[in-house]
């Protein structure tokens, strides 16, 4: 299975600022997925990121709020823009290949 390095592991941010989360995979993967886990909730898919094309966003998530980059087959970033306390969540990336692998998550607190 692929190994994912996700950074940062946690951050505390001021409202109105932006945070960029990075995921580096140790092998080339076609598709990467970004999820959000709000406190006490399950995982919700934010978007699917393919290399060389625009990310596909799920209902309720927009590119202006959650821009995603996918410059190559081993790397992706998710930015949480103009943050508010409601954005406080764990954000995870995931890839598929012989099963699904998840990054260790970024625990974001917006104050």
């Amino acid at each position: 299975s692929a190994v994912i390095s996700q950074k940062p592991s946690r951050d505390i941010c001021q409202r109105g600022t932006s945070l960029t989360i990075q995921c580096q995979v140790d092998s080339q993967v076609t598709m990467m997925f970004w999820y959000r886990q709000q406190p006490g909730q399950s995982l919700t898919l934010i978007a699917t990121a393919n290399q060389g094309s625009e990310a596909t966003y799920e209902s309720g998530f927009v590119i202006d709020k959650f821009p995603i980059s996918r410059p190559n087959l081993t790397f992706s970033t998710l930015t949480v823009s103009n943050m508010s306390p409601e954005d406080s969540s764990i954000y995870l990336c995931s890839v598929v290949g012989n099963g699904y692998t998840f990054g260790s998550g970024t625990r974001l607190t917006v104050v």
Binding site: F33, S42, T48, Y100
Partner: protein, 113 residues
């Protein structure tokens, strides 16, 4: 769209009791099924998965799950729970190898002495 239902929001068991957590999915075609566990303050860990073959799947830490296609179910079981099994359990489904997982809302398991 595929959906996943976990019937129990919070289950409280005594140590050594048997566990069964329900999971049902909505998609009628070929599915891949997963159970994940999330211990307090930790990230997701895969317990077991089903792609095809024997519908009774054995996972880590003594967990198993049975895929019953006619019931669209993939229930998680453990014969005797331990205090260390206290965690959140998530059922997840994908309908092909390259689609994202859809997660159920999770079941919180509390094991008491």
């Amino acid at each position: 769209a595929q959906s996943v239902s976990q019937h129990n929001h919070h289950v409280i068991l005594s140590e050594a009791a048997s566990l069964e957590l329900g999971c049902n999915y909505s998609y009628g075609g070929t599915v891949n099924l997963f159970w994940y566990v999330q211990y307090p303050g930790q990230h997701l860990q895969l317990l077991l998965k089903y792609f095809s073959g024997d519908p009774l799947v054995k996972g880590i830490k003594g967990f198993e799950a049975e895929f019953i296609k006619s019931k669209f179910s993939f229930n998680l079981r453990k014969p005797s729970v331990q205090w260390s099994d206290t965690a959140e359990y998530f059922c997840a489904v994908s309908y092909s190898g390259n689609t994202p997982l859809a997660f159920g809302k999770g079941t919180r398991l509390s094991v008491i002495a």
